[in-house]
């Protein structure tokens, strides 16, 4: 695509970032496909420092030469027709009438407030949470906490970002990390100073002037010694996305004694490929907990990881996956034990309904020198229907004789006895099944923030309707 010198004013609202630059050197017509010029354009429009442009270009090169993975879900996307940065206006034109009835009903049943429904359905402007957000923002400022979108983080805290960006997940890690590294936009930048304990969770929802649901979000969370933060993203309600490809990267650095909990629940619409790389480095005595709920999308490939790099560090992943017709949840966790005295725990609960497929894919690796490493993995899969499918692919690699590692997986169907017992107490069959399923995932839902847990259980009730008989 040639760059002619004609400049145009973009219409506000047509571009997610709301960008406006009358002196642009490039013509900013949205173009599909990925090329060096798209990446250069993007970086220039964002006003990024040259090292970030170089980082993007290096990542692009790697993305272009790296082959697609030979494992995991089936990815059937025309990569050349995706808009990687600027989107044409027409694509955003969607009215409430276009939203499928099933989704509207779900909103009704889950009791989602009117104002939020339009946002979730992708048809409205940003939900104005300004007032709630404002008070929290003051408190954070006083404590020295930084919570911005990633572009803002790069602009205002360049030194910090440069030190840590890509230090946990290098662009060469996998093809989609390379893609994100080349075209990332939006996401969160979080910095918590030494000793600060944030009682109120940070929510992606609270970022103003940013994509709530960007395609290539990049999040970087840095938590200093002894600090604590709980970060939450996503929601249980069905979320429509016009973008078919979501490829996010989340990096967390937990300094000595820090504790970080990162909770996600995604319920992307059935057209979305959700390919995410999430990893944390935990230093001496630090703890990182990933809570991962996967309900939506056509295919999710996501394996939250913790590198236990400092002595006494601990990592935990609690994961729930639900797959129904046309869905494949390929999720799991990775724990890498490097330092002595580390411990890890992975609990994965998955439910497959109809022709849905849910797969657990995980790694526990204990390096030589990780003395006294302890790790325990439990995977439970529930198959609701005759032809539901589940897979388990654990990898256990132990190079240390003082380690103690255990892994267990079980596959079962909903117990007829349990359902019968509940029906004897007066519950209709569908409700009884829903209760059994809720009980199955309870160890995980009890760790989620209350509203999420409640919504998740209500969602399960909805899903179980019509599943019996």
């Amino acid at each position: 695509m040639s760059s002619n010198a004609v400049t145009q004013q973009p219409e506000v609202g047509a571009y997610a970032a709301g960008w406006h630059d009358p002196d642009a050197k490039y013509s900013f017509r949205a173009e599909p496909g990925l090329s060096e010029s798209v990446v250069r354009q993007m970086s220039e429009m964002k006003g990024e420092p040259s090292w970030m442009l170089e980082f993007r270009l290096r990542s692009l090169k790697h993305y272009q030469t790296r082959p697609m993975p030979t494992w995991g879900g089936h990815i059937d996307l025309d990569f050349d027709s995706i808009y990687y940065y600027l989107k044409p206006e027409a694509d955003n034109a969607r009215s409430w009438d276009d939203v499928p009835d099933a989704i509207k009903e779900t909103f009704e049943r889950l009791g989602i407030p009117e104002a939020e429904r339009t946002v979730l359905a992708g048809v409205g402007a940003q939900y104005d949470s300004e007032t709630v957000y404002h008070n929290l923002r003051e408190e954070w400022q006083q404590q020295g906490v930084v919570f911005l979108d990633m572009d803002g983080g790069l602009a205002e805290h360049e030194g910090l970002v440069r030190e840590h960006f890509g230090s946990v997940i290098a662009p060469e890690d996998n093809k989609f990390a390379a893609l994100n590294s080349a075209v990332w936009s939006g996401g969160s930048f979080v910095y918590v100073p030494r000793g600060v304990q944030l009682e109120i969770p940070l929510q992606a929802y609270f970022r103003i002037n940013a994509d709530k649901a960007g395609q290539f979000e990049r999040t970087l969370i840095i938590v200093e010694d002894g600090a604590f933060v709980h970060y939450i993203e996503g929601c249980t309600a069905p979320t429509y996305s016009s973008e078919a490809l979501h490829s996010a990267v989340v990096e967390i650095i937990a300094k000595p004694g820090a504790r970080v909990r990162y909770s996600t629940v995604q319920n992307w619409s059935a057209n979305v490929y959700n390919l995410v790389t999430k990893r944390a480095v935990a230093m001496e005595g630090a703890t990182v907990e990933w809570l991962d709920g996967n309900i939506g999308s056509k295919l999710t490939m996501k394996y939250p990881a913790v590198v236990l790099a400092g002595e006494g560090a601990t990592g935990e992943v609690l994961s729930v996956a639900y797959a129904k017709d046309g869905q494949h949840q390929d999720t799991g966790a990775k724990m890498i034990h490097v330092a002595p005295g580390t411990s890890s725990r992975i609990i994965s609960k998955s439910i497959s309904k109809g022709l849905g497929r849910s797969s657990y894919r995980g790694l526990v690796r204990v390096h030589s020198g990780a003395r006294g490493a302890r790790s325990n993995v439990e995977c439970d899969a529930l198959l609701l229907d005759e032809h539901s499918r589940t897979d388990t692919y654990p990898y256990i690699e132990i190079d240390e004789d003082s380690a103690s590692v255990g892994h267990e997986a079980r596959v079962s169907r909903v117990s007829e006895q349990q359902v019968f017992y509940l029906m004897q107490r007066g519950l209709p069959e569908e409700e009884a099944v829903a209760m059994v399923v809720s009980g199955f995932i309870e160890p995980i839902t009890k760790e989620l923030p209350l509203e999420y847990a409640v919504e998740l259980n209500r969602l399960i009730e909805l899903e179980m309707e019509g599943s019996v008989g």
């Binding site: 198959l383 005759e386 256990i396 690699e397």
Partner: protein, 439 residues
Amino acid sequence: MPGTITDELSPVEQKLRAWQPDSDIPQWFSALRGSARDVYFDTVPPDRSDEAWHYGDPRRYSLDGLDIAHAQPGFNGIRYERICGLTGRPSRVACLSMVGDNVTEISSSTPLRDAGVVVMSLRQALALRGDQLQDYLSAGLVPVHRDKLIASHYALTDNGYFVHVPAGVEAPEPIHLIMESGEPGSVVAPHVVVVTEAQSRAQVFIHYLGRNDDARNLQLGVIQSHVGDGADLTLTKIEHVGPLTDIMTHEAAETGRDGRYTSIAVHFGGKHIRHEAVLNLRQPGAEASLLGMHLVRDRQRYDFYTQQNHQAASCRSNLLFKGAVQDRARASYQGVINVARQAQQTDAYQTNRTLVLSPAARADSSPQLEIEANDVRCSHGSTVSNVDDAQVFYLQSRGLSVDRARRLIVSGFMAEIADRIPLATARDYVYNYVLERVQ
């Protein structure tokens, strides 16, 4: 010279290129070998993208620098007494031994013969039971195209064993088949076919024996077992070859309706050992066990790969694999339970327990499940750890030294598998070795 790679063909590969069918062997067998030879030269070795080779190094089983085995019987100097020590009751045992490409009969059993049980070399079977063998070899239980290593087996194989138990017959004595290591620098590719017809019963042992080698030698073996409706076959393999022998064995079994199959694999020796065990439960009601144990030390490497393929309803399979790694050794287990859509009422289990006894030892484990039916009971478990300190301390408090305590514990750990070996003399051999060798 470090870092150089040679593209030259090894002596055995040159012979493969030049190989022409032998008029003595059936035409169909020559065709099989010829097409395998072509597949071999047209294929590259598997790499990590082949899930079966996630752990394991295909280079260890390559034909580099090797020639075809020429060794004659008696080459290894394995004494008759040693064999008896393993097999027991020398005068009544059916025992054959294969070294290089030659099979000799060590002893035979009249009761077995009288019962109609056939035990012969593969070459004899090609001559006398050609049609039957053709059925079994063409059925594709172990396909030639599977990978370059299987192709190399078929391209080279010209002898092995054939065991046949007629319908309704209960073999009165166990059958012992011996595989001896070839001479240094040689490769041998034994092919074993074991058939138990409907309602029959048999116990077959394969002993891998060798001596201290001067240079690398390689065995690329395939064992195919056919268990008829209601038949019961136990196949025990005990491997204790010399420290420079590499062995890759692919074992595949298919079971008929209500068939029972037990496979036991014990590994102690060799340098790089890869054992692949595939179970195809094609008819309902079958019950199968895959049991394995190993003790690897020094710089040994042992990889165990399994498949439990449930293709029919109401079958039960259980895999139990226990091992210990010490010194600088490395062992891996990778296996998959595949339950097809129609295989409802499946019961399938995988258990892998490994003891890591020394700082430089390494263990990898990946038990996998692919389940497409929902009325099933499937689970697996894997643990890796050292000997439990509390247990050692307890035995010390009873007056045992640390060493003795550890040996007893490891021996007790292996008992779950060793106890299933259906022959006392072989069981004793296994126990004694573990007690002697554990660190």
